[in-house]
């Protein structure tokens, strides 16, 4: 394992940090969004749901390209930020977070949305007749009942961020130690024909993926047993 440079541990740390930060932001942003999508009868929900789902069908490089155009040097966000001395988000950790959040958002919103939809109106109505304000009922009734969906969403968001490649290479620029995540490392190993390192890394990431899918299955099984 001595041929595995310290760079790869740095990259592993970066990848886990990125996935953790992204997951927290995804849950904070995705939960209210999913709540609104599940409960609003507005026609806007269709439009918003379509936009959120786009990263599922777009090639990640396309999403990365638009983010680069938006956040990169001389992009609108860059011009805005330069007004108060800010710097471009492209090729930074923050840029990676933005890209990862957008590309994993559909995977996070959907399980939470369907969990909220499955909770239905009834428990919230009963909470209201017990004098729970809408906000209080949300935290004491809706969120606990939707917990399996939230767990699934968190695991999916975390795992998807670990596995993402196209977006982070486009917006992160693959800078060692700063924006070079594990999946990008693997790509470089292959390009440099370092097959041994590549197979170690690929194997480890495949194992991680198996663990993720197993976790999701267990969450599903556990929540089914609880609800019957």
């Amino acid at each position: 394992m001595d041929s595995l440079s310290p760079e790869i541990w740095q990259s592993l740390g970066l990848t886990i940090e990125l996935a953790s930060v992204t997951t927290v932001i995804l849950l904070i942003v995705g939960t209210p969004l999913a709540w609104w999508l599940a409960r609003s009868k507005s026609l806007w929900t269709e439009a918003v749901a379509t936009i959120i789902a786009l990263p599922l069908v777009l090639p990640p490089t396309v999403l990365g390209f638009y983010l680069l155009a938006l956040l990169g040097p001389n992009g609108p966000v860059d011009l805005l930020a330069s007004l108060w001395g800010g710097r471009t988000l492209a090729f930074t950790f923050a840029g990676l977070v933005v890209g990862s959040v957008l590309s994993a958002l559909p995977l996070v919103v959907e399980p939470i949305r369907s969990a909220f939809a499955a909770v239905g109106d009834r428990p919230l109505e009963i909470a209201a007749t017990l004098r729970a304000s809408p906000l209080y009922a949300f935290f004491t009734v809706a969120l606990p009942l939707a917990r399996p969906g939230l767990l699934t969403a968190a695991v999916l968001g975390f795992a998807h961020t670990i596995s993402t490649f196209g977006v982070v290479v486009m917006i992160g620029g693959n800078i060692p130690g700063r924006t070079k995540v594990l999946s990008a490392f693997l790509f470089d190993f292959v390009q440099e024909s370092r097959w041994r390192e590549a197979s170690w890394l690929a194997g480890a990431m495949a194992m991680f993926a198996v663990a993720v899918v197993l976790t999701l299955t267990l969450i599903d099984k556990y929540s089914r047993r609880r609800s019957t």
Partner: protein
């Protein structure tokens, strides 16, 4: 036209909720027991839900003992109406313990406990 009267429960609803027409108006004393009954589908549940504030009809008057819960301009949300509501369906919160479910109520009513 009904108006809020102290000592009375004044109800007037017009419209339709999911096919049920709770087209009704009545006045009962705010003391004692009053029952609304009728064949299934005639809208008794719809009336109860309107009084509880779980449904909102655009035109309606609901005044309890002189307190207006709903008229053209006001609509008091269900969690601010002092009612006890038992639904037809099972309404237990299986994720809360026996101790926690009344706590849901207590935590909320502490603020208006002085008022009641």
């Amino acid at each position: 036209m009904r108006t809020a009267t102290p000592g009375h429960i004044e109800i007037a609803f017009r419209g339709s909720i999911a096919g049920f027409p709770p087209d009704t108006h009545f006045s009962v004393p705010a003391k004692g027991v009053a029952a609304i009954f009728g064949p299934p589908g005639c809208g008794t549940t719809a009336v109860a839900r309107c009084i509880a504030g779980l449904e909102r009809l655009p035109t309606g008057l609901c005044a309890i003992d002189g307190e207006v819960w709903q008229d053209e301009t006001t609509f008091r949300p269900p969690h601010l109406r002092s009612i006890g509501y038992v639904s037809q369906e099972a309404g237990l919160f299986l994720h809360l313990s026996v101790r926690r479910k009344p706590a849901l109520w207590c935590a909320q009513t502490q603020t208006d406990a002085d008022r009641v």
